[in-house]
């Protein structure tokens, strides 16, 4: 009897201890992240002023803003998405519709998943060697291509997943009416997977908005206004990196402001993607 009850207490105690540990883990994990976000918010808001959006990056010791970096980031992100999305959607379509069980699709699927989490700095090195070295100078083009290389796997993965969710009966019904496969894909499967595919594109936007490493030696940085894509171009993440590592107080403040802008943008886009994804269900 006593043995049984001590066994029972032991199990209960172990259970309590384990529950406590996992609650502590959750508190540490979530608390730490809350801590980071709140310091970001405090320091960032202090730096948010009109000049941040209307003046260009200052030389050391002077006041200024991040206007050129914000515009540069917008240009490169938008163009990278425009370049990467069609390739990603078509590849995802190949994987889900044409080559679902082929060897090529199998290899591609595995490589794509690896590319999805491959170190972005390696992608930067690749584009540097392929484009910057051969043309002899840094340019926004190179930055756009390296961001597009990051966009593609994200879009491929979500497009394929979303197309696989489309019931085969829909495809069969359309084919039975005499529609050619390309017509079926464009007007039936894409249409019913549209929200999901857009979610994927938004996730890709969120992913590249904060990417720093691939831009460091492709688009480099530019302290002046420049809309010329064949010239180096400023971007928020690279400016944050440069300013934060500098010894100047005014630059640090701008770095915090830029960090807040990026975080708000990334979180906003991810939440939008999530809402769209939820609508589908």
């Amino acid at each position: 009897m006593t043995q049984a009850s001590s066994l029972y207490t032991g199990r209960r105690l172990r259970n309590q201890a384990f529950k406590l540990l996992s609650i502590i883990a959750a508190l540490i994990g979530i608390g730490w992240l809350v801590l980071i976000l709140s310091t970001l918010l405090i320091n960032g808001i202090a730096a948010i002023k009109p000049s941040l959006f209307f003046e260009i990056t200052p030389p050391p010791g002077e006041m200024g803003g991040l206007a050129n970096a914000i515009v540069g980031s917008l240009i490169m992100v938008v163009l990278a998405v425009i370049v990467g999305t069609p390739i990603g959607i078509m590849t995802g379509t190949y994987l889900a519709e044409y080559g679902r069980h082929t060897k090529l699709a199998y290899i591609l699927r595995s490589l794509n998943d690896i590319l999805l989490s491959a170190p972005s700095i390696v992608i930067g090195l690749f584009i540097y060697t392929a484009l910057v070295m051969s043309t002899g100078h840094f340019s926004a083009y190179a930055g756009i291509v390296s961001l597009a290389v990051i966009v593609i796997p994200v879009v491929v993965r979500t497009t394929e997943n979303m197309l696989l969710l489309v019931p085969n009966s829909l495809r069969e019904a359309a084919a039975a009416l005499g529609a050619p496969s390309a017509y079926v894909i464009r007007h039936v499967t894409w249409k019913s997977a549209r929200a999901g595919i857009i979610t994927g594109v938004l996730l890709a936007v969120a992913r590249i908005s904060g990417e720093t490493a691939p831009l460091l030696f492709t688009s480099l940085n530019n302290s002046f206004w420049s809309l010329d894509l064949s010239e180096p171009m400023a971007s928020l993440p690279v400016v944050i990196f440069q300013f934060a590592m500098s010894p100047y107080e005014a630059w640090h403040e701008l770095a915090w402001g830029g960090a807040l802008i990026i975080t708000v943008a990334v979180l906003g886009v991810s939440i939008l993607a999530r809402l769209l994804g939820a609508e589908r269900k």
């Binding site: 502590i24 310091t39 998943d113 390696v122 090195l125 005499g178 934060a244």
Partner: protein, 334 residues
């Protein structure tokens, strides 16, 4: 499912439509679309191959010049053009290992909390918050580490740790030296915080694949929550947990910005975790745009190539394990 799929898409639809008006146009549009789709797929494949080839070509001068010694020497001397990446490799492995050591148990703890203990009302908001945090750019973690954590750590915690372990043999070596704030230890910690949401959200997804029936059966036999998790949930999801951890490891090995800010960029291996060090990615990020001389650039490219290879292996293993889990749960559902 497979056979119906093939019959609707692969062949034959274009044939009969030739007979109707405009059928030829539809037919060629059909072929064009298919070709475009295949072309995009091949392009993605070629990008990957090109990445491999281009990096190898760029790395070749350094690999050729230094041979295998490149991976085993600590010397990094741009002036004399002598390069070896032992220190960055060591730094990459040490920081990733320490980060995993902290983040895996914590991440699993968070996942258990979310699936088993959390009040139902909070489950979705906390889950979503963690997924969103997994998407925050690493530069944010880096800037926080540099401006907030490192100074605080340097002033309040580091001197204390150094004092406490000063007389403990072994540990005194690990925690020696002046309190810089930045260094290998700080970098590992920031890295751990960064991969924590990733591990937590993957592990939670994996835990949710456990059929409720299995868990209910165990609860029905009188198991405690701990026993259900230890004897049912974890064995059932073992490959998934390991796969998720490998995925996070792949991320940690290649992580750049979170580390570059706080590691101190010193090309030497030190026994003390408080000493500044470097990792492959941090060395590249710090030095690449300033590197002069073909051999210097080639050495950094070779370091990047090596990083690509090790993350490739780790990520491929992760995919294999996660896919196996997909298959096994698919089998159980059927």
């Amino acid at each position: 499912m497979a056979s119906t799929m093939n019959s609707t898409t692969a062949t034959g639809i274009g044939g009969p439509s030739d007979k109707v008006a405009g059928g030829r146009r539809l037919h060629s549009a059909n072929r064009l679309f298919r070709a475009l789709s295949l072309g995009a797929a091949v392009l993605v494949l070629l990008t990957f191959v090109a990445m491999f080839g281009v990096l190898f070509e760029g790395a070749w001068p350094a690999l050729h010049q230094f041979g295998f010694d490149f991976f085993f020497t600590e010397i990094w001397n741009p002036v004399k053009e002598r390069f070896g990446i032992l220190a960055p490799i060591g730094g990459t492995l040490i920081t990733s290992f320490l980060a995993m050591l902290a983040a895996v148990p914590l991440g699993i703890g968070v996942a258990i909390f979310l699936t088993e203990l959390c009040p139902r009302m909070l489950r979705r908001p906390i889950g979503i918050a963690i997924e969103l945090l997994a998407g925050i750019p690493s530069i944010i973690y880096g800037i926080w580490g540099l401006f907030v954590f490192a100074p605080f750590f340097q002033a309040n915690i580091q001197p204390w740790i150094i004092d406490v372990f000063a007389d403990v043999p072994g540990l005194s070596m690990l925690f020696a030296g002046p309190p810089y704030g930045i260094g290998m230890f700080t970098a590992s910690l920031i890295l751990a915080i960064m991969i924590l949401p990733l591990i937590a959200s993957i592990t939670r997804d994996v835990f949710e694949t456990v059929p409720p029936m299995l868990k209910e059966a165990a609860y029905g036999l009188g198991c405690t929550t701990w026993e259900v998790i230890w004897n049912v949930v974890i064995p059932y999801t073992r490959t998934g947990i390991v796969g998720g951890a490998m995925l996070a490891l792949g991320r940690a090995l290649g992580e750049t910005m979170a580390i570059t800010f706080v590691i101190g960029n010193a090309h030497r291996l030190s026994t003390s975790l408080f000493a500044p060090g470097t990792t492959i990615s941090a060395a590249i990020a710090n030095e690449f745009s300033e590197a002069v001389g073909d051999l210097y650039i080639s050495s950094l490219l070779a370091a990047g190539f090596f990083l690509f290879i090790i993350t490739f292996v780790v990520l491929a293993a992760a995919q294999l394990m996660l896919r196996r889990l997909d298959k096994s749960t698919g089998g159980n559902r059927a």
